[in-house]
Symmetry: C2
Subunit: 133 residues, 2 copies
DNA sequence: AATCAATGTCATAAAATATAACATTAGCTA
DNA sequence: TAGCTAATGTTATATTTTATGACATTGATT
């Protein structure tokens, strides 16, 4: 599955192709780049080259705009996403899997309001709760 | 799985990209087209546009040439392939599956030479010999 | 009415591609 | 060996595509 990801991130499409695939104008595509929503690679001759991931991103942007979101709103969405992404990676480096994290979050909710757990035995063995975000 | 096939057959790559992906020169790529080994689509401006399938085909051609096959040899290979493909489709339209076809072929071989099935027990059970290819 | 975000339009320069012609190279054959 | 041919290189010219920047338009919001 790693190879597929590689393929999707290879910058092989010129802007003309991207225009057709996304039904956006060159002006729009370049404008979204200027707003840091996408970051196409440049080839030796300074032409922008796009990947399939870029196509997906552009289609997403189109959808968001159609939904009434403006560009700075879209920027926030992506900022939040990459923050979550970063955190996931950090946890992963700490040896925690996604399901670990889900378990931890659930424990947090269980203790909301400073409730003491019912019986004393198996509760919160690793002191997962006092998070300050 | 149909969508993937569609993606692979979409002509979205300019010749410059194809050159990089295949490590062929524009001259070579156009020459193979002239020899009917590939058939890129033209865009409105008469530029050749290639698909991922074209890339695969070009890499194949490269391999064949490296193996010492010449272009008319490669053409024969592809002609044979499309013949087999056609036949498979025809059978499929007749409602025969691939394994049906295999069974039929095996039956054919069993009766080669007009032999009656052997009443004698274990002699040459599949009539392996009198093939004329 | 003034402002601003998103996009359109236009001019200019540079890069990429198409086409066609002629050149080179390496392998085969008379 | 000389000649032939397949595959590829090279070069010139025309057309298309793209980049960039400036100015224009549009529609929403204040």
């Amino acid at each position: 599955m790693r190879e597929k990801e590689l393929r999707r991130s290879m910058s092989v499409l010129p802007i003309g192709t991207v225009m057709k695939l996304t039904d956006l104008t060159a002006r729009q595509i370049r404008y979204y780049e200027q707003q840091d929503l996408i970051k196409p690679v440049r080839n030796e001759g300074n032409r922008r080259m796009y990947s399939l991931n870029d196509i997906d991103r552009l289609l997403e942007i189109k959808d968001y705009l159609d939904d009434g979101l403006n560009i700075s709103g879209i920027k926030e969405v992506y900022k939040k996403q990459s923050q979550l992404e970063d955190e996931r990676k950090k946890n992963l480096k700490k040896g925690l899997t996604d399901s670990d994290v889900r378990r931890i979050l659930q424990d947090e909710f269980l203790n909301i309001g400073g409730l003491k757990p019912p019986s004393s035995t198996f509760d919160n063995p690793n002191n997962f709760n006092k998070f300050n975000h």
